[in-house]
Structures are given as structure tokens and as C-alpha cells.
Subunit: 408 residues, 2 copies
């Protein structure tokens, strides 16, 4: 450790190392999901980590402006930003270099994003993202496609039984508009909706009169999509709100046509979430307590209608089942390299002993190459011993199985 | 375009978008190479893009200190760096959280690195890296293993016929030391070696006396490894230089034992390259004019002997053969989703028509889903039409085939 007392194991808050086997698992999950995106015609783009801030913070990028690290470009003497979201970059590409490609345009991406500060709930300041954008189409089937492809990608990596939670961020504003609500009265009702304070919503809405009076009922209708859609049907919505409701019904019908068993919930008057959404917005929740796995919805990509979904691979990593690691086979000094290659071709991991000191146990191998075959190592009794990784300033942990393992 | 005249298509110098199909190709290449690394027991780690600068610039990181972007951490009020190389991060991990894992430790990684400035030859300021580090072993077979695994990874992605160029960065200093050369005399000889100016090396070395007199001959011996090794054998090297030569011979013999056909060159007195190398250093050149694909060698990982190789996926992308893209099949409105899913399972890309306006031609599809089968679209005559992508401030280009295509 240097004499200034710098602890080399210490990383800035919210930044972490991903260790074996999680780093390999995350990469495999991302590529498997991108393969699903590709199979539906979403073509991969890779924008740079850094851009001029004007480009990065345009459009939907404004939502993450405060979370964007800034850097001075010594070449141009202009400010650059370290991306906090990839969607604005895809919008930039669609509007510039891919402007001449016929619409709808389907693009996919994966990469790291960085944030200036974490939150208490989400302390991470570097996050992986993987996603799709469908640009130049504004029909309900476009919204449905993006949700369907996202759910299929999660299923491909073993995350089954997800729930799709749909919100209509424009619905409450449409009802408040139609009720002619403004100023403090409108703000109070919006706050009550935000808190899901049904009693307050009821009191404020009754005072405001129609069509705000529908708000408490619609707040209570949040839940399984069919019941929520019936609640929307049952009231005399003003035209703008009716169009939003009809669109939601069409999106949900288009999803059900392909995925009849998918659990869909609808919260008609919820309006949290990314403020740039212009139509349906959705969140994909994993089974059990695995939380938000993806988020998306309709927005404007520059001047074009678009719909997209961002998957959070770090959350998917927590939700996805662990696959069995391949067996590790120690290759003794002097063994035939072709025999080791043959084992690798069969899916084994081979670890070459570099000297007499390298044993199956020291190299966490369950097998040893002997006479061209992977023979279970008697010392390991078929399973590698768990071991501890040392850590300075970080808790020690015990990993089991054949790979290094750890949690940040 | 905003009124301040900012051109949204303009990226900072040395930063670029990777478009279809190159972004997908690069990702596939990286994952295929990481799979080869994994099959040899190299376990993947994923350090963060940003760390405290003390950690990032320690050890071999000092070599890229000037090229490292600095950022103030608003949380700790300390300076962080945006990594310009991943090797120092792997060394940090090995020395801290993985300190307790038995050696040798095999780690692999892939990710993006950033540089403050590009050079004329290498203008890129964001580069992908993929690599392996073998930590805690100092034998020639360790050096050989890293080179072999790297060459195998390149072969896996279709890059055959590479050449491995070995240098011995410590050889010239050892000869200059043994000749007792210092000051301006030493500097002049070092410069002449650096320029490969044989006449100047000869003149300066003769004046310096033994064993510097071997330098011109060894400079001329650069080339196929066997001849260069014979040239080293033919002269009475001082002990330190002899040890370096014997080690090189052992590394080359260990590589040949596994890859007898690999083209290996040896430049005994070349000492360019990464200054932190302590033993053999190597560069892997692609066939033809494809240039440097990987670079590595022996170094100190903190207090531990280590050897590693960094592959440059952007260079590999240029050197690797293009694989055929899967056929794109238009799925007409109202077609059976199960039929489209069956085509995807067979390797087709399906593109859903979202309305009557979406045709095979507009969606660059060569086939249309009809009666459950992918039928060649008569309009496309079996091949999608090339198209042009529009670009603001960037040259237009013509792509051919079924995917978006472009060059930065």
C-alpha cells in the first residue's frame, strides 16, 4: 500500500468490480438478449461512451442532464458528457447517419452508462444497459412489439413469469386539463395521485368536478389489465383521455395476441416514470422480489414517434437462474496438447499446470487429464473446494463451485 | 438542428459510432474470443470504467497517465480517472479482492478504454480491449501459454496466418549495462537502435567496445525466430543478456510445441513498446496489411510476476472475414406469430410489418413469410437492394446486403 495511505481496494462509491463467475454470466445474458433482439430485426449500434454534451442532452437526454459527468475535450475545447443513458444516442443516430434508412427503423444496443450520483435505493453509478428502439412507427402494434420482444429476451435467459406493468403518463394530465384545473389546486391533486392517497384524491377531485371525479375510481382500478380497462370503459372520459384509453386497450390486445399468458397490469392514472414518455409506458417486473428488470414506452426520437425498452442487465443477473459451470480439468505438465484441445472442444475448461506445484486442488479443478480423458480428481471428490478471496476494505466471502465467486 | 448551430451528427475527434452490421460483428468477435480464453481457465472480471486515479495509474498504469481523462468525484471530492488501459485494473483486483486465490491466477476481461488524445496513426480515443492476464507465474511456459491462447482466439474468429513478433526489451539495456555505457554515449546508441540505423549502431558500438559490439549483428539478425536465436547463440553474451536469450529460446520452444506452424519472428535488440515489460514482449500481426491485432508480454502485476495479452477488437474486426448475414423475412400483418417464431428458431431474422406500408423492400427483407414458410420476395430477386444512409457532416456511403452498413 503506498505511503499516502491510499487503499487500492477502495473504489469510488457506487462503482464496483464484477468478479467471476458473475462477469461472464452478465456478458452471456446480454449477448443472449441481444440475439433475441437481432432475431426480430433490431440491428445493433454502438455509440461512443462520450459525446459533445449538446448531443447527449438533447431530447430525452434532458431527463438525465443532472446525472451526466462532464469532461473538457482538450482537442476541441468544448464540453463533452459521459453518457447517462443510451436512448438519446440512438435518437441522434436515427436522425443523422441513419436518416435515409426507411422507417420503421429497428435498432438495438448494449453498453455501460455512468451517473454522477447514486440514490439510496440505486447506489450504482455505473450501470449496464441493453435495449431496443423502434423508430418511425406510432401504432399500438409497435408498442406491443417492443414489450413482447423484451419479455421474450428475458425468457431466453431463464427469467420466466415476469409481469408487465403498463402506465399511461398522459391520462391524469388529460383529465386535469379537461377539468380545467390549474395552479395550486392542480398541483395538490397531482401530488395526491403521486402518493396514491385515495382519500385526498377523492376529496380534491370531488371539489374539482367532472371529469376529475373519475380519478379516485381509476386510481382504485389499478391492477390486472382487464379490470382496469373495464373501469376505463365504464366512465365517460373526455376525448383526449378516451383516445389514451383506447390506445392502451389496443396495445394490450396486441400483446395478448402473441403472449396470452403474460401477466399484464394497468395503472391508468399513475404518472411517475420517465417524464418524456408520450404514450404507454411500461415496466417489466421479475418474479418474486427480483424487482424492475426493464423499462420503456413511447417517446419522441427527435421529430419521430418511437417506442423503446431498456433492459437492466445487472437486475437480470440477479433474477436469472445460474447455469452449471463447465468442469475444470487440470492438464498435467507434459500432457498432449491435442488431448486438452479435444476436451475443450467437448465443453470442458482446461487449466494447464505450469509446474509440479500446480495441482487440481490449487487450480480449483474437479478433474485431471489422464490418458486423454477427464478423470475426476480423487482429492476433490468431484467438487472443487470452496475458497475465500481476500479483500482489503471489502468483506470476505466464500464462493462455492469451480469458479471464483463473489458479490460486490 | 438547434439554433446555436450545433451539428448533432458531429462527434468529438476520435470518437465514432459503430453501425450495423459492424457493431454486432465486433460484439460477436469479442464474445467468441472470451469463450476461448474461458476454455483455457481464464475467468472473466469486469472492473468499472472509472476508479480513483491513484489506483488506475499505479504500476503499469503509469504508462498511460498522460492519456487518462480525469474527473472530480462529487461524492468523495477526490480525483477519478477514466481508464485508458484495463491491465492495471486487473492487477489491482489480483492484489486485493483476489489476493487469497491460489496462484497462478488466470483472468480475462473485455471493455472500452478512453484516451485524452489520439495520434496521427491511431486517431481513436475510445478503443475496445479484450485480454488475459496470467498472474503469479514466471516460467517460459506461462509466457508461451498467453501467446498460444491469443493466437487460438484469433483463429476462432477466422483470423488465420498471424505472425507473432517477439522482442526482448531488456536485452539492449543489458548489453549497454555490461559495456558500462552511460550518459550521452548510451543515449546516442539507444537512439540509433530505436531508429534501426545499422550504420550508426555499428559506429557507436565499435567505439564502446565489448559486449556492445554484438549490437549491430543482433540488430541485423531480426527476423525468423530460429535464425535470430542462432545469432544469439553465436556470440558470447554477458550473463544477464544470456539469461534473457535462454528465456526467449525456452518461450519459443514452448510455443512451437503446441503451434509448430505459427510464424514467429524475433527482434533481439528492439526495445520499443510498453516500457513496463520485464521479459519477452510480443505483438501479433494479422495476415496481409491488417496490422497489429494484439500486444502483450511479461510484466510485474503489483509485486507478482505476470504475463498478459491485450487483443484489439477494432483491429480484429478489420482483419476477420465477414460471415453471411441471416436472411430477413417480412412477417405480413395478421400472420401467425408462431410461424414467425418457428422461422427465428431456424435462424431467420423476422421483421414484423406494422402496417400495410411495410414491404419487404422497405424493410430490406429478402423473404416474406407465406403459409408458414420463408418465400423469396419476387421484388427483391433474392437479394436486398443496397441503400444509402443520410448523414449530416459525414460522408454518405452505400451499403449492400441485408443489413445497415457503414464505415466511420
Amino acid at each position: 500500500m503506498p505511503s499516502d495511505g491510499f487503499n487500492p481496494a477502495l473504489l469510488p462509491a457506487g462503482l464496483a468490480d464484477l468478479l467471476p463467475p458473475d462477469a461472464a454470466r452478465e456478458a452471456a445474458l446480454v449477448e443472449a438478449m441481444l440475439a433475441v433482439f437481432g432475431s426480430h430485426g433490431y440491428e445493433r449500434v454502438k455509440p461512443p461512451l462520450i459525446e459533445f454534451e449538446e448531443g447527449l442532452l438533447a431530447g430525452s437526454g434532458a431527463a438525465v442532464a443532472e446525472q451526466t459527468f462532464r469532461l473538457m475535450d482538450p482537442v476541441s475545447q468544448r464540453m463533452m458528457g459521459l453518457r447517462a443513458d443510451m436512448t438519446p444516442q440512438v435518437a441522434r443516430l436515427a436522425a443523422t447517419r441513419l436518416r435515409g434508412v426507411e422507417r420503421p427503423l429497428r435498432l438495438s444496443y448494449s453498453g455501460q452508462v455512468l451517473r454522477v450520483r447514486g440514490t439510496q435505493i440505486a447506489p450504482e453509478r455505473q450501470l449496464p444497459q441493453a435495449g431496443i428502439e423502434l423508430i418511425g412507427a406510432d401504432s399500438p402494434v409497435a408498442d406491443a412489439e417492443v414489450a413482447i420482444v423484451g419479455v421474450e429476451a428475458l425468457a431466453r435467459v431463464g427469467v420466466e413469469g415476469v409481469a408487465l406493468d403498463i402506465t399511461l403518463p398522459a391520462m391524469s394530465p388529460a383529465l386535469l386539463d379537461a377539468a380545467g384545473l390549474a395552479g395550486e389546486e392542480r398541483a395538490a391533486l397531482a401530488r395526491a395521485l403521486d402518493r396514491k392517497d385515495e382519500a385526498a384524491v377523492r376529496a380534491l377531485a370531488e371539489r374539482a368536478g367532472p371529469p376529475a371525479v373519475f380519478l379516485p375510481g381509476l386510481l382504485a382500478a389499478a391492477g390486472p389489465a382487464d379490470a382496469a380497462l373495464r373501469a376505463l370503459d365504464a366512465v365517460a372520459l373526455p376525448p383526449a383521455a378516451r383516445a389514451i384509453a383506447d390506445n392502451a386497450a389496443a396495445v394490450i390486445a396486441a400483446i395478448r395476441a402473441v403472449m396470452p399468458a403474460l401477466r399484464i397490469t394497468l395503472d391508468p392514472v399513475e404518472f411517475r416514470g420517465l417524464r418524456y414518455h408520450t404514450g404507454v409506458a411500461y415496466t417489466v417486473y421479475g418474479p418474486g422480489r427480483t424487482g424492475e428488470l426493464a423499462r420503456g414506452g413511447r417517446y419522441m426520437s427527435g421529430e419521430e414517434p418511437a417506442t423503446g425498452l431498456t433492459v437492466y442487465p445487472d437486475a437480470v443477473l440477479r433474477a436469472a437462474p445460474r447455469l452449471a459451470e463447465p468442469a475444470r480439468v487440470l492438464v498435467p505438465v507434459g500432457a498432449d496438447p491435442a488431448a486438452a484441445a479435444a476436451l475443450r472442444a467437448r465443453g470442458f475448461v482446461t487449466v494447464a499446470a505450469l509446474g509440479a506445484g500446480d495441482s487440481a486442488a490449487s487450480q480449483r479443478c474437479t478433474h485431471v487429464l489422464r490418458d486423454g480423458e477427464a478423470v475426476a480428481d480423487p482429492a476433490s471428490s468431484g467438487a472443487a473446494a470452496p475458497f475465500q478471496t481476500g479483500a482489503d476494505g471489502a468483506p470476505s466471502f466464500t464462493g462455492a463451485g469451480s469458479a471464483l465467486s463473489g458479490k460486490d
